[in-house]
Symmetry: none
Subunit: 190 residues, 4 copies
């Protein structure tokens, strides 16, 4: 699906691309997706031309940022789940995903608004993440730690929703904790 491997970049080009991604992630996160591309380029120490050579579109850059975040999150989720029994793994990963996605809703929203078929472009990494979540959920349900009637779509929706909720409680850790308690309590069977 991802076709032929893209020709290996020259060392400096690769460095620029990486730097651009890092900077864009930082800038989009702290200042919103409306920052002019020029500013991102400047912050990365390159010209706009270079930015557009690597990412043909602002939207493409945003997408790349999201994909990379998703991939990292997927990997970290796998690592985190490895050492724990199903119930604990489920809860730990739930928290991880929520914390990571807090404040990043805007990204995907912007992508969707752009008219891109988000599912198509992110599908691959998104599918991997969903597969991992499905595994965690199934294991937790088998272990009797989560209501058996809960499907993957509901889990995803909950993750997004709880992410939004905790965003609004950024400066009250106790309150955030209570949100998790409520949701984890509600997820238990019966």
């Amino acid at each position: 699906m991802s076709g032929a491997t893209p020709r290996p970049l020259r060392a400096d080009a690769a460095r620029n691309r990486a730097r651009l991604l890092d900077v864009a992630t930082e800038v989009f996160t702290t200042r919103g997706v409306t920052v002019p591309t020029e500013e991102i380029a400047r912050a990365a120490g390159v010209g706009v031309g270079t930015l557009f050579r690597h990412f043909p579109t602002k939207e493409a850059l945003l997408e790349a940022v999201v994909v990379r975040r998703l991939e990292t999150l997927t990997a970290d989720t796998a690592r985190l789940a490895a050492g724990h029994p199903p119930a604990e793994a489920f809860r730990a990963c739930f928290r991880l995903v929520v914390e990571r996605s807090a404040g990043k809703q805007e990204f995907t929203r912007a992508l969707a608004d752009a008219g891109v078929d988000v599912h198509a472009s992110l599908r691959e990494s998104s599918d991997l993440m969903r597969a991992r979540l499905a595994g965690l959920l199934a294991a937790a349900q088998r272990a009797g730690a989560v209501r058996p009637d809960l499907g993957l779509p509901e889990l995803v929706a909950l993750l997004v929703g709880v992410g939004t909720a905790v965003e609004h409680l950024a400066d009250d850790p106790a309150a955030r904790e209570r949100i998790f308690e409520v949701v984890f309590a509600g997820l238990r069977p019966r």
Copy 2:
């Protein structure tokens, strides 16, 4: 409380103002707050000048939209709560708020951001809504239907979060129902 009564508008002016608000609500909701003002004016069948006569700023228009939605919601919440015992009233209103705010980022954002730096008129209606929610919550807690350690900020965050979650399940009513079940279950004491 809302200061001097603004001079009563001429019939046609009032009609235009109302139409503008209706159209803006619809357009902002379905297409986002980035729609050109010109488009809103056209959709309302008036010139841009008229729009700016009624709302001196695009932001002012957005604020008026949000305020009106908030006021309606507050009133409807009151009406809905009236006929029910605390536990039921709480749950019914929770659902109402969630359904109404689903898909209206601006709306919920405004609701939750109220503590920050919004304009006076928004602040006022937001405070009224929060007061109503505080009442519902307290009553439900007194009735033993909701964990006593849950504060108003958490309730608001949950409403916003569940609104977001439910948005992602727009076409699966059964799944949406399960989200509510999870949250309501989690909200019960212990």
Copy 3:
């Protein structure tokens, strides 16, 4: 040339017209000719509609203001000249015209920029003023107080120029006086 006498206005209409002229003079002078017409109407306590009924165009209002100022100036010049011998009369009127026109250049400039044929619309009152100046100049020259080779056009240009010059010395009366001394000295024969 000014055609039929315009039908006598109703008392309130006449009052409105006068008030509008007064206010416009004040406002144009203090805040420049770019003030919105709406503001002038408000300051005069009438609606814009009324303003445009009396003066079909912003430009027409400005023109009326200028004409009235010219007429007043012409009359005052006559009065001032009456009681003095030619040389003194000339100098006194020179000063009067300069003081009155200081800071009002903008008016006529705006009119000219508007593409109106200023000469046509103001011709009448302008001609009266020029006639009076011509008389003063001729008398002063006959009395040997002013170089005989100076024409009316130069006198007018000097009046305008000195008006501009003293505008720039608004807060230094001694310096203004020196300007007058220089010009009056230069105007003497030889």
Copy 4:
């Protein structure tokens, strides 16, 4: 004195900048400062974006125009004064300044307003010009060619005023000459 040298522009960029300045000078002078920026850009054969890249604001463009004119005038004044004895130098430069500023309200306005609140770059070139004028005046006074009680402010005011006067006599060279005669005669001591 004018801070760090701005990075040398690329050849084409420099050409565009210069062209923009030339065109703006011409257009502002002949049609006033209200011409749309778009028109200036078109006349210079570039897009608006280019105009705004070089001059971040319409006002900045105007300022650049004025500064450049002032600098040229200052240099030309120096050159002109060099070869003449004080009295002649004074008169020749007086004429030069007047001819150059005739019809350029913005220009003289800027010259005279310099004491007020203009931007730094304008202030700088304006100060240089004023210094030169002060030198010319002092020398002429020392040579006994100009009234010793005349200060720099009056000289500047006179330059501006005579510029305005001469503008009104654009098509009558003999009359213009008489204006100069009057003023130069008036400037002589006693």
